[in-house]
């Protein structure tokens, strides 16, 4: 079985099974809602817009205010790009197939990361010992989702590194 991401000439092809399409669409939509209309105290917000300056609260406020709008806009753009890909894809042999254009690989990489960070923030991943999480644990499913999306990220990173996209 071919991977979720694969090289297709000079493009990168995304191929998702139906449950993965549903999962990614749902998670991207949920994060967009959480960012668009943040609930007070939502840990997602503090994880995605973290402290910027240490040792100087005034400077921290100033820098975070300065960055907040651009960071939010970029995050929403990346989520919109993911949702658009799911719309644009064609069905082929039971999968959704879509070729990524231009900066879409980076947008997808970033959106996947944001979604994983959001899941981690919601389950307070910093306090969880993964070795102790049994299958009945409420954190088991969110962690499995994070790992699955992390596996997608790894595939994409291998391809992006091979393209030497960083120079």
């Amino acid at each position: 079985m071919s991977g979720t991401f694969a090289r297709n000439g000079d493009r990168i092809r995304l191929q998702l099974r139906p449950p993965e399409v549903e999962l990614l669409g749902r998670l991207a939509g949920e994060l967009r809602t959480a960012l668009d209309a943040p609930e007070p105290g939502d840990p997602v917000r503090s994880r995605l817009f973290p402290p910027a300056v240490l040792g100087d609260p005034e400077a921290d406020r100033e820098v975070r205010d300065l960055l907040a709008d651009a960071l939010l806009a970029d995050r929403l753009d990346a989520l919109a790009a993911v949702l658009e890909l799911l719309e644009r894809g064609r069905r082929s042999r039971g999968r959704l197939v879509v070729d990524l254009r231009d900066d879409e690989p980076l947008l997808v990489l970033g959106a996947l990361n944001d979604i994983r960070l959001a899941i981690g923030a919601r389950i307070d991943i910093e306090t969880i010992d993964r070795e102790q999480v049994g299958e009945d644990d409420p954190a088991a499913y969110p962690i499995a989702v994070m790992d699955h999306l992390g596996w997608w990220q790894e595939q994409l990173l291998v391809i992006l590194d091979g393209r030497d996209d960083t120079t």
Partner: protein
Amino acid sequence: MAQAAGPTTTPAREVDTDPEVSADLPWDVIVWDDPVNLMSYVVFVFKRVFGFPDHLAHKLMLEVHEQGRALVASEPREQAERYVHALHGYGLRATMERTS
């Protein structure tokens, strides 16, 4: 959707008048460990944001992973802010502080 701040809503940035902390004294940019960001992703981000060669990006990623934090740049304030902005955009925990 967030709106771009117009000229009337943009607060004038305070001018730093304390000679000890003003001007071009560098700020350290620190990246902190977290349990979600993948090691390969952090290497990728370091290469993109700083243009580090692979071995240096990898070494700094390991420092973050093993020691909990790594100093990735020391720059004048505005450049440090740009780095923190970029790193936050990628979802890394990054902070800046005056170089001690």
